[in-house]
C-alpha cells in the first residue's frame, strides 16, 4: 500500500461518482455492515481517509463454499466496488496466476505490505499429518504461520477456519484446528457460517476497508453487529413460538401457516447469526423462511451437536436402554437391600425378649 495511493473517496470521485452517489454508497455500506443509518457520516468521514489495503486469502481444508458464497454476494456492485478497492493479491481459486507465479505474488504482497496487509483464511488446519493438506508443497500450518507473521489482522472466514468445522467433526481424522488455535499474537476475527452469509463476508471486509480496523468483536472473536443476536430472537416466526404454535411436520397445517419450527429441530435459539435479518440470495429468504429449521451452522462443532431434526430440548442419544438398565440395576440392588432389611428385621424380632411389667424400668 503506497502512501501516495488515492483514498477510496478520491477513487470514487475520479470514476465520476458524485457526492450524492458517494453518500448513497455510504448508506448502502452502512446497511451492509449492519451499522445503524446514523453511522453514515462516520463512514463517509472514514472513507475520505481510507486507502486501498492489500489482502491475502488462504484456503486450507475447505470446500470453497465460502468463496462461492462471497462471489454470489447479492450486492455485486457494492461488493464489486469493495473488491475493486482492495488489492486481492493472492487467492488461489480466484487469481489467474498459478503455481510458482502465484506463490511469488503472495510473497511479494507480504514483503511490500509487511505489517499492513489483511490475511483472510478459509478452511481448517490439519495438525495430524502435515501432508494431509499442502499448497505448493507447503503445509497449511507453515503457510499460515508464515503469512500471518506480517499481517495486520487475520479474518477466519467460515466455520472451518473459525472453529474447525466439518474437518474437525468427530472423530476429526486430520486433527483439524481453527486459525485461532495457531495464531495467538494477532487480532483474529471469526466469521463463522457454513458458509457465512455473503454480505457478512463483504460487510466485515468493508469495515476493515472503511475503518482500517476490525469491527467490535465478541468473546468468541465474532463481529458483534452480525453475531450479536440469536436467529430465534430476530426470527419473524418468533411470535408463533411465544403463542405456542408449532409446525409438527414439514407438510402439516402449521408448516403451511409458517409456524415456529422449534419442534422440527430448529437450532435458532442457540445460533448467533444475522440470517434472520440480512437473509440470503439477494435478501429473498433464509432457511426458516423457506420452511426448514436453522441447523446452527455458525456455531462451534455444530455437526456434532445432536440430530438436526430433534428439538433442542430433546435428548440427543436414546436413553431408554440405559435408563432401563439402570432401573433393572436399581431393582437388583433394591432386592439385595430388601433381603438385608428383611433379615435385619427378622433378627430384631428373634432378639425380642418378652416385655413383662418388671421390664418397664431400668435396673436401679
Amino acid at each position: 500500500m503506497a502512501h501516495d495511493a488515492p483514498t477510496i473517496a478520491e477513487t470514487l470521485r475520479r470514476q465520476g461518482i458524485s457526492r450524492r452517489g458517494f453518500l448513497k454508497f455510504c448508506a448502502t455500506t452502512a446497511s451492509l455492515m449492519a451499522l445503524p443509518p446514523s453511522m453514515v457520516p462516520a463512514i463517509a468521514a472514514a472513507l475520505e481517509k481510507a486507502r486501498r489495503p492489500s489482502v491475502i486469502w488462504l484456503s486450507f481444508q475447505e470446500c470453497t463454499g465460502c468463496t462461492e458464497s462471497l462471489t454470489r454476494s447479492h450486492t455485486p456492485s457494492i461488493e464489486g466496488l469493495i473488491l475493486e478497492q482492495i488489492s486481492l493479491d493472492y487467492h488461489h481459486t480466484l487469481q489467474a496466476a498459478s503455481g510458482e507465479a502465484a506463490e511469488a505474488a503472495r510473497e511479494a504482497a507480504m514483503r511490500e505490505n509487511h505489517g499492513k496487509y489483511l490475511l483472510v483464511v478459509d478452511g481448517s488446519i490439519p495438525l495430524g499429518n502435515a501432508g494431509y493438506s499442502t499448497i505448493a508443497g507447503i503445509s497449511n500450518l507453515d503457510m499460515l504461520k508464515e503469512t500471518a507473521a506480517g499481517a495486520a489482522a487475520v479474518i477466519a472466514v467460515g466455520s472451518c477456519a473459525a472453529y474447525g468445522g466439518l474437518p474437525a467433526a468427530l472423530p476429526n481424522p486430520t486433527g483439524a484446528v481453527p486459525v485461532s488455535a495457531i495464531i495467538k499474537d494477532k487480532p483474529v476475527m471469526n466469521v463463522p457460517g457454513c458458509p457465512p452469509i455473503p454480505v457478512v463476508i463483504t460487510g466485515v471486509l468493508a469495515h476493515f476497508l472503511t475503518f482500517a480496523a476490525l469491527p467490535e468483536l465478541d468473546d468468541r472473536g465474532r463481529p458483534k453487529v452480525f453475531y450479536g443476536e440469536s436467529i430465534h430472537d430476530r426470527c419473524y416466526r418468533r411470535p408463533f413460538y411465544d403463542q405456542g404454535k408449532f409446525a409438527e411436520t414439514f407438510d402439516d397445517e402449521g408448516a403451511r401457516k409458517g409456524w415456529c419450527l422449534f419442534k422440527l429441530g430448529c437450532k435458532g435459539p442457540v445460533t448467533y447469526n444475522a440470517c434472520a435479518t440480512t437473509k440470503w440470495n439477494q435478501g429473498v429468504s433464509f432457511p426458516i423462511q423457506s420452511g426448514h429449521g436453522c441447523i446452527g451452522c455458525s456455531e462451534p462443532g455444530f455437526w456434532d451437536m445432536g440430530p438436526l431434526y430433534k428439538p433442542l430440548s430433546m435428548p440427543i442419544a436414546p436413553v431408554q436402554m440405559m435408563v432401563g438398565a439402570a432401573a433393572a440395576g436399581g431393582a437388583i440392588a433394591g432386592t439385595a437391600m430388601a433381603m438385608r432389611n428383611r433379615a435385619a428385621k427378622k433378627a430384631a424380632q428373634a432378639a425380642h425378649q418378652k416385655v413383662t411389667v418388671d421390664d418397664l424400668e431400668k435396673a436401679k
Partner: protein, 130 residues
C-alpha cells in the same frame, strides 16, 4: 426462492409503524430526522407487503441516478419517505424509511454544488473565450 408460508401474518409490521409514529413526533418537535434500515429488521414474507400497504403512496416520487437508480417516494403519510437503492443492474441494495421534511439524498450536496459552480464557470469561460 418461493417461500413456503405465503399469506401468513406475523405482526412484525406493527412495531415498525409505531417507531415511525414516534419519529414523526420527533421531527415535528425538534426537526430531528430518522432513518430505519429495512434490512436490519426481522420480516416475514408478508410483513413487508403489509408495512408498505399500511404506508400507502403519497404525492412525491423521484429517481436519483447515481451509482444506479435510487427511488425516493413519499408515502401517504407526509414526512415518511421510502428510499430504495439499486445498482446499475437494477438489483436492490438497500431499503430505508426516512422520516424527514426532505430526504437528505434528494438535496444537492455542497461538494457537488461547488464542483458544478466551478464547472459552469469553466464552461462560461470557454464560451467567452471561444
Amino acid at each position: 426462492m418461493p417461500s413456503t408460508d405465503s399469506g401468513a401474518e406475523h405482526g412484525n409490521a406493527l412495531p415498525i409503524l409505531n417507531e415511525i409514529r414516534h419519529a414523526l413526533a420527533r421531527l415535528l418537535e425538534s426537526g430531528e430526522t430518522s432513518v430505519i434500515d429495512l434490512g436490519a429488521l426481522p420480516m416475514g414474507p408478508q410483513d413487508e407487503a403489509e408495512l408498505l400497504a399500511a404506508l400507502g403512496e403519497g404525492e412525491v416520487e423521484a429517481t436519483i441516478n447515481a451509482g444506479g437508480p435510487s427511488s425516493v417516494r413519499e408515502t401517504a403519510f407526509h414526512g415518511v419517505w421510502l428510499l430504495t437503492h439499486r445498482n446499475e443492474a437494477g438489483e436492490t441494495l438497500a431499503r430505508f424509511i426516512e422520516i424527514a421534511f426532505v430526504p437528505e439524498l434528494l438535496m444537492s450536496q455542497a461538494e457537488d454544488v461547488a464542483d458544478s459552480a466551478a464547472a459552469l464557470a469553466k464552461k462560461l469561460g470557454q464560451a467567452q473565450n471561444g
